[in-house]
């Protein structure tokens, strides 16, 4: 048998590491998470790849202008010479990306330029030896381009061996060097733990709190609102004035900050502050912003606790609860708990839906990174972007601002495991097109500048958690009224697909969508779509409820999602009062729930 050389080398290294592991403490290793820098400067914290790389990272999102340095002070127990490792990637290796940056230690660059290796995988790159003379060293991340260079962590090590490259090994290293287990805090026990602070989660928390429940609301961004926040900028849709149960929609209305359209250059129009104010006013809500839930604890088939990690400090918090509501959009809590779920499209044979495809597949609606430009006084320049998608006179998108059509990830990329790739593809489309417009259509675009490009992807579809009822196209089109009818939905069945012309020019790499609105009469969503069929204390609200892909095309708009949250808040209060499960509410206390919604 022939074993390739590099395999032997790696294998020996691993064996060696294993043998040495008891001595690991003896050598000094200092792990510095980039997102935990004292001052991020102009860099932003990105947690969107947490499910894949088990960490947040810093990113230089400068829309083509280098951002201010991120700086921090690192304490060393021992002065001496350290090997520096930098965890980064080349996010656009076509063939080499623009995300270039330097790492400066005590005023001097260490190890050349990072972020242009031509390799898209997150890896440790060697930054050479650095001398640390004193107990503290100043570290600086110097962005060179403003084009989304990124850094996950720095490792200073007295040992010359390579740190673990894979994400499992990295998790272990992080856990140990950051003392994650030793520093974890208990948030306490809650009647309802809501994970995800989009419109759905926020409504669920507010209603439950007003009904007297002790609520934790956990959101992994600094703002509430999800896709309706200033970070994504999607406007609220779905009507609340056609409700079968007029009481629903009251909290949605409180959160509604007016209609700035999609991708408005004015972020404040989306009302982050309004949402935060509404939540802050509720003394029964413990709000945890910047906290990403990545682990659940189970007891007897139920969720007993969730663990979140702060996306900046990396400190962990544990929340125990009676009921949990998965409002993550991704169905993350359900997934971690082993809830039945579905992703992609069902086949027509399976659901009987005329709009379903012949065969089941992985197709999902895509993710958007909206953007907008604004006029400026004089002609400005924008760099050429050879690493981005190419455009020309023959094909480019002649727009000053985006709308919902800027969308990537139609089954060709997984919206959870490849969320970063999808976002980056969006950025390559936005920057490539903008560069074309700026450099070739100067008359129209010379005096315009990018005012805003989202770095948080607006996700439309991922997992759908399955409940006791799975809403279908027929439920919608036949307007079926089940006894547990709750939320009224009004949006069309709005299933996107790659726009034809875009497919022609970017086959398999589409970034622009089309849709066909299939009108519906107002219809109702049964309560049974709002709790898990196999995890007895799990509710869900928002785009990850129990529907088929086709039905999701209509239920997914945010006023509708918000009303689902309101119903979950009410149902949780009834469940608590009767010491029962979400299903118990349906089976034994439906009258009470319906009365509450009607009243």
């Amino acid at each position: 048998m022939k074993i390739p050389l590099n395999f032997i080398a790696r294998y020996c290294l691993l064996a060696l590491l294993g043998a040495l592991s008891v001595h690991v403490k003896a050598q000094t290793q200092v792990l510095v998470e980039a997102e935990s820098f004292d001052d991020p400067g102009g860099w932003v914290i990105d947690q969107q790849s947490f499910p894949v790389i088990q960490s947040s990272y810093l990113m230089a999102h400068g829309m083509g202008r280098p951002v201010a340095d991120a700086t921090t002070t690192v304490r060393f127990e021992q002065p001496g010479t350290y090997h520096l490792w930098v965890r980064t990637k080349d996010w656009a290796p076509f063939p080499k990306g623009p995300g270039k940056f330097q790492v400066w230690v005590n005023g001097k660059p260490a190890g050349g330029v990072f972020g242009e290796s031509g390799s898209v995988d997150w890896k440790w790159y060697y930054g050479g030896e650095v001398k640390v003379d004193e107990a503290a060293a100043e570290i600086r991340l110097k962005d060179l381009t403003g084009f989304n260079g990124r850094c996950d962590a720095l490792l200073f090590s007295t040992s010359g061996s390579e740190p673990p490259q894979d994400s499992a090994g990295m998790s272990g290293l992080r856990r140990e060097l950051l003392s994650l287990d030793q520093t974890r805090k208990e948030a306490g026990h809650f009647d309802l733990v809501v994970v995800g602070g989009g419109i759905a989660g926020t409504c669920a928390a507010v209603v439950a709190a007003r009904l007297g429940l002790k609520v934790a609301l956990i959101q992994d961004r600094p703002v509430l609102g999800g896709n309706n926040s200033s970070e994504v900028r999607v406007h609220l849709r779905g009507d609340i004035d056609k409700n079968h149960h007029p009481k629903l929609g009251r909290v949605v209305r409180e959160l509604d900050n007016g209609d700035p359209g999609n991708g408005n250059p004015s972020g404040s129009d989306y009302g982050d502050k309004r949402k935060l104010d509404v939540v802050s006013y509720e003394k029964n809500i413990d709000l945890y912003l910047n906290t990403h839930v990545y682990q659940v604890e189970m007891e007897g088939g139920r969720i007993s606790a969730v663990i979140g990690r702060n996306i900046k400090t990396n400190r962990e918090v544990r929340f125990t609860g009676t009921y949990f509501s998965d409002c993550t959009g991704d169905g993350t809590v359900g997934y971690l708990a082993g809830a039945d779920y579905r992703m992609g499209r069902e086949s027509r044979a399976e659901t009987g839906e005329s709009l379903a495809p012949e065969k089941a597949d992985d197709f999902t609606l895509g993710t958007s990174n909206l953007w907008a430009s604004l006029p400026v006084d004089s002609v400005t320049s924008f760099p050429e972007t050879p690493w981005a998608l190419p455009f020309s006179d023959e094909y480019h998108i002649d727009e000053e601002r985006s709308d919902w059509q800027w969308e990537t990830g139609f089954g060709n990329m997984n919206t959870i495991t490849e969320a970063e790739k999808i976002r980056d593809h969006n950025l390559r489309a936005v920057y490539g097109n903008w560069s074309y417009l700026k450099n070739n259509k100067t008359e129209k675009y010379g005096k315009r500048e990018l005012a805003w490009v989202a770095y948080i992807g607006g996700k439309r579809e991922s997992r759908r958690l399955l409940g006791d009822h799975i809403l279908t196209q027929m439920d919608i089109q036949e307007g079926k009224m089940y006894p547990d009818a709750t939320v009224t939905a009004t949006w069309t069945i709005d299933l996107h697909f790659p726009q034809k012309e875009n497919s022609l020019y970017f086959p398999g790499e589409e970034f622009f969508a089309g849709t066909e609105h299939i009108r519906v009469a107002p219809y109702t969503i049964p309560y049974r779509c709002l709790y898990s069929r196999n995890i007895p204390n799990l509710f869900m609200a928002g785009r990850n409820i129990s529907t088929t892909h086709v039905a999701f095309g209509s239920t997914r708009v945010m006023r509708t999602c918000g009303m689902m949250g309101e119903v979950v808040g009410m149902a949780a209060s009834i469940a608590k009062a009767h010491n029962t499960t979400p299903r118990g509410v349906y089976e034994d206390h439906l009258d009470e729930l319906v009365a509450m919604i009607k009243d």
Partner: protein, 317 residues
Amino acid sequence: MCRLVLFISIAAAANVNAAYARTPHAADSLAYPVNEYNGISYEVRLVRDSAGMPGHYHARIFTPVCDDDVCKPVYIDLYWDLLGSYLRYTVPLNESLTKMDHEEFKREEYAKLHEILADSNSLLKDYEMEELVESATKTSPGEVDAVTGATAKSLQAVVIPGALYTCYTLWHIAHGRVVDTIAKITDSLVDPPLLLHFLESRNHRYQYFALDKVMDNQGNVEPDYREPVINLIRSPNVFLAAHVLKRLSPTYFSGEERQNWLWETFLGGSYRLKLGILDKMEQLPLTNALRTRLATDKGDFNEVIAERIEHLLNRQS
């Protein structure tokens, strides 16, 4: 309304001749009649450039623009390229464009009209006049948004307020039957100088048009056009470049000089073109000179390219 249109269109037809008598292009022999959808007819003429090469088409148009109650006359000069794409418009001296309230277009509205006409995919295309009026004037946001929100919103962008009918009528003339007429005329003009002119024009529509005439299904190109066609691989239009590269017969890339040229193109080309060139190389017997360069340069790009070059080199051995 119909009767009114008919009446005015007769007047229009009568007037067209009078108008042409005043145009500088009246002498050109190639003038073709166009009978437009709304009953008007006019003549479209070929205009040659100073070298005598076909340059563009022009027509002076006189059309009524009508709403439910009244019609008003509109005079306008329209210009098309040699394949019938709208180029620009001008308004004859002493004429102006007005809105329904008889107010003259503002400066920016003249500019906007050009933008509207330049969009061959305009939403105006799919609308009947009646639908258009309904959608563009309906303002209740709740209602419209729930069903045709996107459409109503975008419609506001494709018309000039108060000049809906003008925009609609002129768009449908600029993108109307004249397009077929022009295609026929240009087809009758095709000769080697025109094809060469097209290939070298930097106008992708002309270039695709010429390519269709000079390249067969196997990617063979008649000798006279070979060089200009191969050169399109270095066009700044990456889509055209990749298209030509893909279609061209591999036989043109067997010599050392041409393979060197291909590698130089690879070095300077966009990522898409780079991948296209590697695809092409899979169809070629590689010369030793190229193999050496591939081996030397292969690590300079990214993992994907390194692997593909590796594959190329191994395949050959």
